[in-house]
Symmetry: C2
Subunit: 319 residues, 2 copies
């Protein structure tokens, strides 16, 4: 990887206007990684443009500096475009147009489904998170980690490992986290924001969703469906209930957990989690989505019954 | 601390028959720490006695070697008694009698309420867990950590930090965890046992308990009560629902979470968790219990209404 790091650093060194872009439906790893590399680029005197297609979820709004993100910029023609945590070009959303107009491109990601769509591809599906890759890249360039950069990367790694739970969490991951903590950022504040600030409305929706989970295949498959009607009952944001799927997956005997969220009428966001052997990224791919072996997802346009029928037939085929 | 470590190692070196004892209601830190120091002592050729008053909870039964524990041994008169993770003598249960008959005694603990009841007291309320203290002691003695000892200590530290969430998790804690992981034990297996193996019956009881939580003091105080009747409805072990309190504490705005579990008729186990400023060990002390600033507990003998009345009056006084 050092050879690719070297090429990337050289390319960054000779670029002045640099765009960094998130993916559709950004998460903690995506936003934390972007803010960290942005801080590094700003320290190097670059003109940095932070691009996003979608809004940043509520639980990440505690991060300082998010106001730098541009929701749209059609005039931008950067020297360099850096796609972060993004498995394929079309997952960029509108920034894909900026990508096409950019002179040079870098792609930094840890999804196994990454299509290596840029000129320089820093892609490693073995690491815990894109945040871990950004750490390695910055350390390779001898960057001195300040507490703010550390806070961004801690957020990225902590969220994408389920707080150091997933198998991807290596000895090296924890050494990096120890080093980040050593910079002295307010970790209690970050942990509270990430893990201890469920909204009351979302907690109530979460409890309701749990009480309605359905179990199949001798209790190895669990499916939860959250409708907009349920969300509105508690005045809750349906996006804030992603944890339902983790709760279900973590029940003894469950191999595959599925969460279907009604985003709007006729549009369903489906999350898939497995525990030991089902490769859920394969299932997501069949529906035009993507992800990792143990965590993946896709969006379905159509009728809920049709979705459930297709999904159930595929799921029972792999179990 | 090095001076005390040195004294403890000297005392261990000249002892042959050594008892290690858990506390009443043992947890992951307690059992993991005992098994680790026991492995160290066995490697040094000692005759080791593992003593426990109470049964080991189900979620720890995956640990190898637990059959070594003795539930009762009235003839034992050890050269050395090591109390582990135990804040005061009477929390030992029946092994307190063995403690009294022991020639020499060591007390290894990280509870701020520890009474320094032994001859050598390795007590540090700043560290994350007793497991972390045991690691430091063993490392001080130049012990070579094998994967089984590492698995025991990982279990101790992971459970007592809420998987590296609590403020007590330091840079050093994570360096230790990285070193433990480096020994190559099956961490996916351990994580699955600790964090991803909720029993279906207990998951159902958990959901029911969540749906009945009561909120007070402008939603900053939450109290959940789980009765034996609720547990029997789901054929669930009431001891397996401790996570209810963590869920409640982690709701935005909640400072103090309380879980009352009916152990048997007229006997209630009360757990207290705070988020930022309430010292719950002080509250537990008023009821004859103990613990840490952010996590403590006690047992109440009497009537539920009386308990609720006393508790509510004290709780509202500190908020």
């Amino acid at each position: 990887m050092n050879n690719i790091f070297k090429k990337a650093i050289q390319l960054i060194d000779k670029s002045q206007v640099i765009a960094i872009a998130s993916h559709i439906g950004p998460d903690g790893d995506n936003i934390g990684s972007i803010m960290a590399i942005g801080k590094y680029l700003e320290a190097a005197g670059k003109e940095v443009h932070y691009l996003k297609h979608d809004n940043i979820p509520d639980y990440l709004l505690f991060l300082p500096g998010l106001e730098k993100f541009e929701q749209f910029n059609e005039l931008l023609e950067p020297d360099l475009f850096i796609a972060v945590d993004c498995a394929e070009k079309k997952r960029l959303g509108w920034p894909e147009d900026v990508f096409k107009k950019s002179k040079r491109t870098i792609n930094i990601d840890h999804h196994s489904t990454n299509t290596n769509f840029a000129e320089i591809n820093i892609v490693d599906a073995e690491v815990s998170s894109t945040g871990e890759l950004i750490f390695e890249l910055l350390e390779f360039s001898n960057y001195v980690f300040d507490s703010l950069t550390a806070m961004y990367l801690f957020t990225a790694i902590s969220t994408d490992t389920g707080r150091f739970l997933y198998e991807s969490t290596s000895k090296r991951t924890l050494e990096i986290v120890a080093q980040l903590i050593g910079t002295g950022f307010d970790r209690a504040f970050v942990n509270k924001a990430l893990w201890q600030s469920k909204k009351m409305s979302e907690a109530r929706l979460y409890i309701d969703a749990l009480s309605k989970v359905e179990f199949f295949q001798n209790n190895s498959l669990a499916i939860s469906t959250i409708s907009l009607k349920m969300a509105s009952k508690y005045h809750a944001d349906i996006e804030g209930t992603e944890d339902v799927i983790n709760f279900i997956r973590d029940i003894d005997g469950i191999e595959l957990a599925v969460l279907i969220k009604e985003k709007k009428s006729g549009v369903y966001k489906v999350s898939l989690r497995s525990k030991e052997y089902v490769d859920v990224s394969n299932i997501a791919l069949k529906f035009g989505g993507g992800g990792h072996r143990r965590a993946a997802g896709f969006t379905f346009y159509g009728n809920l019954n049709e979705l459930q029928k297709q999904l159930y037939s595929i799921l029972t085929g792999v179990m």
